[in-house]
């Protein structure tokens, strides 16, 4: 009778063999001697990792790809949107909330400003920005002859409209925030006391003047309440603000300014773009773009089988091992505007007064302990093993992309077990009861509760590894609720200063404005560590002060702040991240650099269908 069970095993093994065979043998492709120059080039890139299993260095990944081959006329770019749930389909920059919608809208962008490598507005976009620092005013000028995708010319009203939407009492989104209230007259308009925002003034057909309560250097990063997208006034003006979200003008046929325009939508699953003949930089070379939502589990397989040319937005770093061997793509890497960090709870947020109050008796109150915990983490090994060095040990709270503000000379925290032990010994943390873990200098048991976020495919292993790292230097760290906490609950607990949390591992995306005031200021609700000192507040104020309009002053302010944060270690940056993009070989040229002028209207294809991987 066990024969049947064997038969069953055979069936299952057969399944596996088929799966394995489909992957193809590596030998056959290596035997192919007719290599084009491009392929040899790629092999060079990939060989080291294949041979030694050594992960690639971030710098080895290109930011730009150029593929050989004659461009075909037109063609459709196939884009995969890696998401496990249908996209929401709110195609309006003032209303959307989900990042996937932004990834989709990128193909039909309404952005009016172009930015440089430091994410500061330059004069290469539809509009230019002039700042009148003395009068707290910004003057926005638009190019002439720019047209919407329906052929209507872009007007100043189209620039004013988004402000009127966000400020409107019926607006339910998150963008009516402190920054927005910085615009003169925004609050009055929101409260219904005014019909319009008094700080917005149409000077002439191409000029808009915006008055602010105060100005900081962030204005150049489109901060301080400045809005960087236009909305088609000729379409939206007749729709009540409260009904915009459900209107066809947002959901089905938005009118846009980008290289492509939306032609057809299957809600939640695919979008068909066609060339925008009115694009101000000239019509795109492609006929269009076809974008489909693909579950994250199968996105690698989809890329491999040549169903898509690229992904909308980046591919998660954990997907890298799945795609690294494919020979039909080039992997581009782009530093992300984010960092991971380890935070220590040092106080509570006084919700009545809206300020952080430090607890002098906090368990993690000893800076030496915090520093030691930073040195004890072997982040380097995790980056290498799990992230193929697509993440690197962070030395600062400013991601390196902000070239002018990031300071590579900062030492930061790095893996040094001996140093951690030395610090702990020196600070009086000793194992007095012989259980293998250190007690506090007062001789009390020390059990540190860590909150970790669930979700990432390797979150579990990482959390276990961190706790092992700390155990190696004699610190007992346990998980707050006995398990990792999923995203919503995590922030719910961290936000209310749950006593079950002593330390937490999280990440911040910085956005294009690196100003840290909103995350570490005394009044900032997001200052989750609740660490606050007058010195810190002074440093933060300096970064956004009028003096900081001087780039040298601001860079220096950033540097001093970074040093102060490193010293106090209330948050210890752990990782900088790199986003990866897979570009199919039939895409002639693609560029993910932040500071080049690459635009989607230039994209060309060299074949009728995306290349398939032989591996």
């Amino acid at each position: 009778m066990s024969k049947k069970l064997w038969a069953l095993l055979v069936i299952l093994l057969a399944f596996m063999l088929v799966l394995g065979a489909c992957k193809g043998s590596e030998n056959s492709s290596e035997g192919n001697t007719e290599t084009t120059p491009k392929e040899t080039e790629k092999e060079k890139e990939e060989k080291p990792e294949e041979k030694t299993e050594e992960p690639a260095e971030t710098s080895e990944f290109p930011l730009i790809v150029d593929n050989e081959g004659e461009a075909i006329k037109g063609g459709t770019l196939k884009v995969a949107l890696g998401t496990d749930s249908p996209f929401q389909g709110i195609f309006s920059w003032v209303l959307y909330e989900d990042g996937y919608d932004a990834d989709i809208m990128a193909y039909s962008s309404n952005a009016i400003f172009a930015t440089d490598g430091d994410f500061l507005v330059n004069d290469k976009g539809i509009a230019t920005l002039e700042v009148d620092q003395a009068n707290n005013k910004a003057i926005v000028k638009i190019r002439e002859g720019v047209k919407w995708s329906d052929g209507e010319p872009l007007k100043i009203e189209d620039l004013i409209l988004p402000y009127l939407i966000i400020g409107h009492p019926d607006y339910q989104g998150i963008r009516y925030d402190g920054d927005f209230q910085n615009i003169v007259g925004a609050v009055e308009y929101h409260d219904g006391k005014a019909d319009t925002i008094s700080g917005l003034k149409k000077i002439d057909e191409t000029t808009l003047e915006i008055s602010f309560q105060k100005l900081s250097p962030a204005i150049f990063s489109v901060g301080d309440g400045l809005w960087s997208y236009a909305e088609p006034n000729h379409i939206l003006k007749d729709i009540p603000i409260g009904q915009l979200l459900e209107s066809d003008a947002v959901r089905k046929n938005p009118v846009t300014l980008g290289a492509f325009k939306i032609d057809k939508i299957v809600p939640g699953e695919s979008v068909q773009f066609v060339r925008n003949e009115h694009y101000w930089k000239g019509p795109a070379k492609l006929d269009g773009v076809l974008l489909k939502a693909v579950p994250s589990t199968s996105i690698a397989a989809a890329i491999q089988s040549g169903e898509y040319d690229m992904t909308a937005g980046s591919l998660p770093a954990t997907k890298y091992p799945e795609v690294k061997d494919f020979d039909n793509i080039t992997i581009l890497a782009q530093p992300e505007l984010s960092y991971s960090y380890l935070g220590f709870k040092l106080g509570k947020f006084d919700t009545v007064n809206g300020i952080s109050v430090m607890d002098p008796n906090a368990k993690m109150g000893d800076v030496k302990l915090r520093q030691a915990m930073g040195y004890a983490l072997d982040v380097e090994q995790v980056n290498e093993v799990y992230y193929d060095n697509l993440r690197s040990r962070a030395n600062s709270l400013i991601p390196p992309v902000f070239k002018s503000f990031y300071d590579s000379s900062l030492k930061g925290y790095y893996y040094d077990k001996d140093k951690a032990i030395e610090i702990l010994d020196g600070a009086g943390y000793k194992d007095t009861d012989g259980d293998g873990f250190r007690e506090t200098p007062k001789g009390e048991k020390l059990e540190i509760k860590m909150a970790g976020m669930a979700g990432d495919a390797i979150a579990e292993e990482m959390a276990a590894f961190w706790m092992q790292n700390w155990a190696d230097v004699g610190l007992k760290v346990v998980l707050s609720t006995g398990r990792l906490i999923e995203f919503q609950t995590f922030y719910d607990k961290v936000e209310v200063d749950d006593p079950e949390i002593d330390i937490y591992m999280a990440a911040w995306g910085t956005g294009t404005n690196p100003s840290p005031a909103g995350l570490y200021g005394k009044n900032a609700a997001f200052n989750f560590s609740r660490f606050t000192t007058p010195e810190l507040d002074a440093l933060l104020t300096a970064i956004d002060s009028p003096d900081a309009f001087d780039p040298a002053f601001r860079a220096n302010a950033f540097r001093e702040w970074q040093e102060y944060m490193e010293e106090n270690a209330q948050v210890i940056p752990t990782q900088f991240r790199t986003a990866i993009y897979t570009i199919n070989d039939r895409v002639k040229h693609y560029d993910v650099n932040y500071d080049t002028e690459f635009d989607l209207n230039e994209v060309e294809l060299t074949a009728d269908a995306p290349a398939k991987s032989t591996k």
Partner: protein, 303 residues
Amino acid sequence: MSVNVGNVKDINENIISSPPTGIQVIAREFKKDKLAMFSLIGLVTVILGIYVAAFFLDQETLMKVSLRDKFAEPGDKFFLGADQGGRSILAQLILGARNSITIALSVTIITGIFGIAVGLITGYFGGLIDNIFMRIIDFFITIPVLMIIIVFVVIIPKYNVVTFIFIMSAFLWVSTARLVRSKSLTESRRDYVNASKTMGTGDAKIIFTEIMPNISSILIVDMTLSFAGNVGLETGLSYLGFGLPQSVPSLGTLVSYANNPLILQEKWWVWLPASLLILLLMLAINYVGQAIRRSADARQRLG
């Protein structure tokens, strides 16, 4: 090609001079069905083996992450390879199987005891008690169990194996209770029960010494099937991420590695052993259950 019209019942009565007890029938059924016997022995051996082996394993050491051994292939260091955290698959398989079986078994026993008790009492007494419980059961039937369990898992703050067992049990006793109720309802109307009542035998005694043995084989079938179902539910929930905490080894967690296509295709040692173990466990349970069911139903007996 033939229709079974022979007086099988007559013959059975002919062969067996005295009506056999439930256990005897079951034992005979197993003797006749080699596959069921094989399954039963295999099941008992595997479960015992897992528990004994798990007893000698130290979960803390085995679950220690060792990054450099990430997805180590089966070999000298790890007999069945290692998972993403460089932890032995074999050890996780044993601990995971123990956890999954313990959970399924606990849930089966809890829901079994509760369901049988409720079913017997409501079926036997009928009337108001029955009415009240039937309303409760009616309500439970409207509950989309899987969804509510997921909601509970999200809510419970200190969430571990024990709470997980209780959450599952809270919603899974209903079908057993319903089955037992309908059986005990018909059984309670039988002559032997009436005879006992007239002789003044206590209700509890009638319920547990007379009715229960008479529906025991149906109970056993129900229990085996719900055991199999619980194994499936536990692994399924773990797969969705609403099951056991990930740090607790579980068959579902191991199988869920297959969610990663790379692992599905190339690192079979991570997910396949657990999948096969589940498959074989379920097959064995089913064959055992089938044999018991046959013994409960004279028409389907083997000879």
